[in-house]
């Protein structure tokens, strides 16, 4: 499906891939701030680093001068990373001011994003926050009051609500409020949570329950129906244990030795009622795998020695 990207998104993506002058691909060595968000398993990751011009006495007056990113992700994820760095470098913000950069500002900078790609901008804001936390730690700047408890989230504390994308309850609670997410679809577009198997949508303690708890009253959205039940493979339909043992014995003691003399063997796959599924292997498999040969070599002796109703099916 071709996404309806804005010209700005495509322009930034193209410039980034070509490594044009003024783009921000890369990773700073010994950065003043380092933040990473996402994972390769989930499909996108942003590694964000920045450098500041240090104020001689007051860390709060450090100014971000250089910002760089490495991004694993789609067209819009790469463009959003460019947007983040351009925005920060252009505005000369302090790290604390940078904390106020929202994903909406990135979306606006990009001239809009398709709804299902909003999570690319959220990734930018999250990586930035983490980098600022790193800066604060390095500069010994007390930042606790300004931020949600990212340390806990980073350590993946808290119950995982969406296991497909490893999204935890504390993170969901914070982002649902921050981004004013009102429906499951909005959560999925912004955070990816619930975007794969969907079992967390209406599960107890799932996305709908969190929405209800945070915003009050159920939305009354109809349930989407249960997921597909998958029947485990099984050898259903077996009837007589005794018959099976007899078949196995004849295969093992009569047919297999004959075949082995010629450099082959027989493998029993399954028995269902009077149907015996087996495979000729080795020499016998190569020259005698045709179904008619299996009938002759295997079915006839089984009919004679066990039960005339037996039928052999070559696998």
């Amino acid at each position: 499906m071709p996404w309806d990207y804005s010209d700005k998104v495509l322009e930034l993506f193209k410039a980034a891939v070509q490594g044009d002058a003024g783009t921000h691909m890369g990773e700073l060595e010994n950065p003043d701030g380092f933040g990473e968000y996402g994972s390769i398993a989930c499909g996108d990751t942003l590694r964000f680093t920045f450098r500041v011009r240090r104020h001689p006495t007051d860390p709060a007056r450090d100014v971000i001068t250089v910002a760089r990113y490495l991004t694993f992700g789609c067209t819009s994820a790469i463009a959003a990373s460019e947007a983040l760095c351009s925005l920060l470098e252009a505005q000369g913000k302090t790290p604390v001011e940078a904390l106020k950069v929202t994903n909406q500002e990135l979306v606006d900078f990009l001239g809009g994003l398709p709804e299902q790609k909003i999570h690319c901008s959220v990734m930018g804001a999250e990586a930035l926050q983490r980098a600022v936390v790193d800066w604060a730690r390095k500069r010994n700047y007390p930042i606790d009051g300004l931020l949600p408890d990212l340390a806990a989230e980073n350590a993946q504390e808290g119950r995982i609500v969406c296991s497909c994308f490893s999204v935890t309850e504390p993170y969901l609670r914070r982002k649902i409020r921050e981004l004013n997410l009102r429906t499951i679809a909005e959560i999925t577009n912004a955070l990816k949570a619930g975007g794969a198997c969907g079992t967390c949508h209406h599960a107890p303690g799932g996305l709908q329950d969190l929405l209800n708890e945070i915003w009050g009253q159920p939305s009354g959205a109809p349930d989407e129906g249960a997921g597909a039940g998958v029947q485990p493979l099984s050898g259903a339909g077996r009837s007589s244990e005794h018959l099976e043992r007899q078949v196995e014995a004849v295969l093992k003691n009569v047919i297999s030795p004959l075949l082995r003399k010629e450099g082959g063997d027989i493998e029993l796959i399954d028995i269902k009622g009077y149907k015996v599924y087996c495979r000729l292997t080795g020499q016998s498999g190569r020259c005698r795998s045709a179904p008619e040969n299996v009938k002759l070599l295997v079915e006839q002796p089984l009919k004679e020695q066990v039960d005339v109703r037996l039928q052999v099916i070559a696998v």
Binding site: M1, W3, L10, F13, K14, A16, V17, Q18, G19, M25, E27, E36, I40, A41, G43, D44, T45, L46, R47, L70, T71, F72, G73, C74, T75, A77, I78, Q116, C164, F165, T188, K192, G195, A196, G225, A226, G227, A228, G229, V230, Q231, L233, S234, G235, A236, G237, I269, D270, K272, G273, K275, Y277, P291, Q311, I313, A314, V315
Partner: protein
């Protein structure tokens, strides 16, 4: 810049020969083939001839065993729901985890309606384990539906063997196969190798006919009920006025496709193999999905590039005039990567970086050259941007 179109498993260019035979049925021969006046005989006759042609291309089946539909998706729906309706006593369906959504989603829907549905897994090569299939067969198995060849990886499944095993187990099991990717690339012979198959689906637009026309084969005697009601067309099995020009076009395309199987197996295969070998040489950390399978469609090459994302690759290819596709999450409209690659357990560092290149008889050496020129550079540039690629050591870094 000439467009290099290598997304032929998605759709194909209409063959000029096909377009030509269709033309009269848009203009002078527009009559409803069911009408009584003599002018309507021409379109009615054209459908009859088309049915005979397709019947011949499928190994010489009875033309009355074929019906024309609107798409392979319609054929699959008609086949499966029709078989379910006709066999109320049976409750078990066997299909695979790698079917096209038009079969897979029916499987899930039937599970919601209370049927037992077995989705057979595939191994790392994308192949089915036949023993799993044998063990899955039950006394109440209603349908076995296994595709002939996978649209994403090109891996071919042993449908002839599976159909025989199913029928030897229980002649009442209805065997269906989605042959959409197979027709024109593999021999499809319903009188010999595939004689145990009851229902077979495919569409026109994968073989250089237009979109919007498909075929369903229903072997005589198969317990099956019509799905679209409300008309006598197609012997009452698919109501709706026949799409005459498209049916005529599809028959012509079948003829060309049958004649082209040998070319697919030789010329197209050698183009694909050369592309595969060169890319393997020039792109480090590259997976070829389905490469180790016993049989693979000659036109299909499914790559998984470690450390970068497929949608970004496609955009870059598109800027260089190359049309390909991807099983990446970002192209699927959901947030999940391809169910086929997931079922094959493609490594998590590569599953988002898949690119499918699928050739047709209209591709040539120059197309392959252009891909060889462009793709390795695109991959290298995107890897420079990726946090999971060590550019100095030229390897994945997690």
């Amino acid at each position: 810049m000439k467009t290099v179109y290598v997304d032929n498993n998605a759709t194909t260019a209409i063959a000029p020969e096909v377009l030509e035979v269709m033309q009269p049925y848009f203009t002078s021969e527009y009559y409803n083939p069911s009408s009584m006046y003599s002018a309507a005989r021409a379109p009615a006759h054209a459908i009859q001839v088309a049915r005979e042609t397709v019947a011949r291309c499928l190994g010489g089946v009875n033309p009355l065993e074929l019906m024309f539909t609107g798409s392979a998706t319609e054929s699959n729906n008609t086949a499966l729901f029709g078989a379910v309706q006709a066999n109320p006593a049976r409750r078990h369906i066997i299909t695979t985890a790698v079917e096209h959504p038009s079969v897979l989603e029916i499987g899930k829907e039937l599970a919601r309606r209370g049927y037992d549905v077995t989705f057979l897994p595939v191994d790392r090569n994308g192949e089915l384990i036949v023993d799993d299939f044998v063990r899955a067969l039950r006394s109440d198995t209603l349908i076995v539906s296994v595709m002939m060849a996978n649209n994403e990886t090109g891996v071919c499944y042993p449908v002839a063997d599976l159909a025989r095993i199913a029928k030897e187990t229980d002649a009442g099991i209805v065997v269906h196969t989605d042959a959409t990717q197979a027709v024109g690339k593999l021999p499809v012979d319903l009188k010999s190798a595939l004689r145990h198959v009851d229902l077979l689906s495919f569409s026109g637009h994968k073989i250089h006919a237009p979109k919007g026309v498909g075929v369903l084969f229903v072997r005589q005697g198969t317990p099956w009920r019509p799905y679209l009601l409300g008309g006598h067309q197609e012997q009452g099995r698919r109501a709706g006025t026949e799409n005459v020009p498209y049916i005529v076009g599809l028959a012509k395309a079948c003829e060309l496709a049958e004649a082209g199987v040998a070319e697919e197996q030789n010329r197209v295969r050698s183009l694909r193999d050369r592309l595969q070998a060169t890319l393997e040489e020039r792109i480090p950390a590259l997976e070829i999905n389905g490469k180790a399978a016993a049989r693979r469609l000659p036109n299909t090459l499914n790559l998984a590039v470690h450390g970068i994302e497929g949608e970004a690759i496609l955009y870059e290819l598109s800027r260089h005039g190359i049309c390909a596709s991807s099983g990446s999450a970002c192209t699927s409209g959901t947030l999940e990567p391809s169910h086929v690659l997931k079922a094959m357990q493609v490594p998590f560092t590569a599953i988002h970086g898949s690119v499918r290149i699928s050739l047709s008889r209209y591709n040539d050496e120059a197309d392959i050259e252009r891909i060889i020129e462009v793709l390795p550079t695109v991959v290298a540039k995107l890897r420079k941007l990726s946090p999971y690629w060590d550019d100095k050591r030229n390897c994945l870094s997690i």
